[in-house]
């Protein structure tokens, strides 16, 4: 029997485009990558024509991994990243998603600190143009005994039009005592003060918005091997939804 299509009651699929998901169902299993103790891993996911990408990472002791995501193409794009960190492992995630009219983009992360002294940093910047939907669901789970955990989630979304929609749900689930976890979440519009500043220097409305969006996503790709390429691809998508 094939697995039933999720409904909106399923938390992980609450904001998904279920009609667009149906033809993709059932989904293939996640790609599983185990990074050996002390190893290094980097991955860039550019989702440019829709679909679901699922990646599961297991970071063994003192392994270091970085995942960069640009989720911006097709009517429905979903990127799921599930990471388990063991003793002293280090995980960085930088994500940008952009949705214009009739697009639903979502990034779902589950970061489990299974061993002590591991660090995770996640930064997701989402931009919704007119009638676009962007969602980020991110859970950080710190298991019993995972003391010395350092987990950071920085989640921000920008609405370019009142008809856009941004959903954000950063979650912390902590079962250890000696833990440093921070999460920040904000949904907003382009800063009117900044736009006027740029206009006062001669930039037209579209140019000013494009620069403000460049600033908005600036940090997400910091440290990526193909940082410049990612920025250029993201900027092109941003300018397309303005």
């Amino acid at each position: 029997m094939t697995e039933a299509l999720p409904t909106r009651n399923a938390e992980d699929w609450r904001y998904a485009d279920l009609a667009a998901l149906a033809p993709l169902w059932p989904l293939a299993d996640a790609e599983v990558v185990t990074v050996a103790a002390g190893g290094d891993y980097a991955r860039t996911i550019v989702q440019s024509d829709g679909g679901v990408t699922r990646l599961t990472l297991v970071l063994e002791s003192k392994a270091v991994a970085a995942v960069y995501i640009l989720n911006a193409g097709g009517t429905y794009g979903r990127v799921e990243v599930d990471v388990t960190l063991h003793d002293g492992a280090d995980f960085t995630l930088g994500g940008v998603q952009v949705a214009g009219a009739a697009q639903t983009m979502e990034v779902i992360t589950t970061v489990t600190h299974a061993g002590p002294n591991a660090a995770s940093r996640q930064m997701v910047r989402s931009v919704a143009g007119a009638a676009g939907v962007v969602s980020y669901l991110g859970k950080v789970r710190v298991e019993r005994g995972a003391d010395g955990t350092d987990g950071v989630q920085s989640v921000r979304a920008m609405l370019l039009d009142r008809s856009g929609q941004a959903n954000a749900r950063p979650e912390l689930e902590i079962y250890a005592d000696d833990v440093k976890c921070a999460h920040g979440c904000a949904v907003g519009e382009l800063d009117a003060n900044g736009l006027f500043y740029l206009a006062a220097r001669g930039l037209g409305p579209a140019e000013a918005k494009a620069l403000m969006l460049q600033a908005f996503i600036a940090e997400a790709f910091d440290g990526a091997g193909d940082e410049e390429n990612l920025r250029v691809l993201a900027q092109a998508r941003l300018e397309a939804v303005l």
Partner: protein, 246 residues
């Protein structure tokens, strides 16, 4: 160059400017002083076209054209430069990228070809030099991590690069130490003290006027110009206060 006639403006429905008139000719430096809440910054923002500053009466002609009919970026392209009291930080966008785009946008408005990267860098280096600002600063994101004084110097570098006809400088002297004040003052003179340009300084204090000598000083109170005079008026105000003089 600039002719403000009977200008009235509101912010959030509250009348701030109440029939202000002022004429600035090419080659002149004017200073507007006045107590807090008099409408000094409102005048700058209204002339710059900031959203939320609504003109309810009067007119403003800039080089003979109706300034108020132009969008903010068109006013900039027409040659108006508004120096901000609090310049905005823009992370992830370098000063050089920002200024090159701004300058080329203004050039496009006048059907001029964009400056090449090399031409632009040469210009930027020259203007940064005038303000004794290191080129490395211009490679950094716009105003991010700049001290108050560095932000104001960066504003003056922007002014040098964009080469406006009229600069309205809103409290450019605030937050400046003595050396930075002198450097900014000298920068304003070098860039704007020319027969075809004009400056409107909005300030609380006499000290910037020691470096940039105004031809005219006006006192703004209650949304109108209540007194005008020469450079000596600023000294009188400094000694006796607004209430005694205006």
């Amino acid at each position: 160059m600039l002719q403000i006639t009977n200008l009235s403006a509101t912010v959030a429905d509250k009348p701030i400017l109440k029939g202000l008139s002022l004429t600035i000719n090419a080659g002149e430096v004017h200073a507007i002083m006045g107590p807090n809440g008099a409408g000094k910054s409102t005048l700058g923002y209204t002339l710059g076209g900031r959203p939320g500053y609504e003109v309810t009466g009067g007119s403003v002609a800039f080089d003979g054209a109706d300034l108020l009919a132009l969008a903010p970026h068109e006013r900039a392209a027409a040659g108006l430069f508004l120096g901000f009291q609090y310049p905005v930080e823009i992370p992830g966008v370098s000063n050089l990228q920002f200024l090159r785009e701004a300058l080329n946008s203004q050039r496009r408005y006048h059907d001029l070809p964009p400056l090449s990267g090399g031409e632009f860098l040469k210009l930027a280096r020259e203007k940064a030099g005038l303000l004794k600002m290191d080129m490395d600063m211009l490679k950094r994101p716009v105003n991010v991590g700049f001290s108050g004084g560095e932000k104001k110097r960066a504003e003056m570098v922007q002014m040098g690069i964009l080469d406006p006809k009229l600069a309205i400088l809103d409290e450019t002297d605030s937050g400046l130490d003595i050396d930075a004040l002198r450097i900014c003052g000298e920068g304003i003179n070098a860039i704007m003290r020319r027969p075809d340009k004009a400056v409107l300084l909005i300030t609380h204090y006499q000290r910037l006027l020691d470096y940039v000598k105004p031809d005219f000083v006006h006192v703004l109170a209650g949304g109108r110009i209540v007194k005008s005079g020469g450079a000596e008026l600023a000294l009188e105000l400094e000694e006796q206060g607004y209430e005694a003089v205006a």
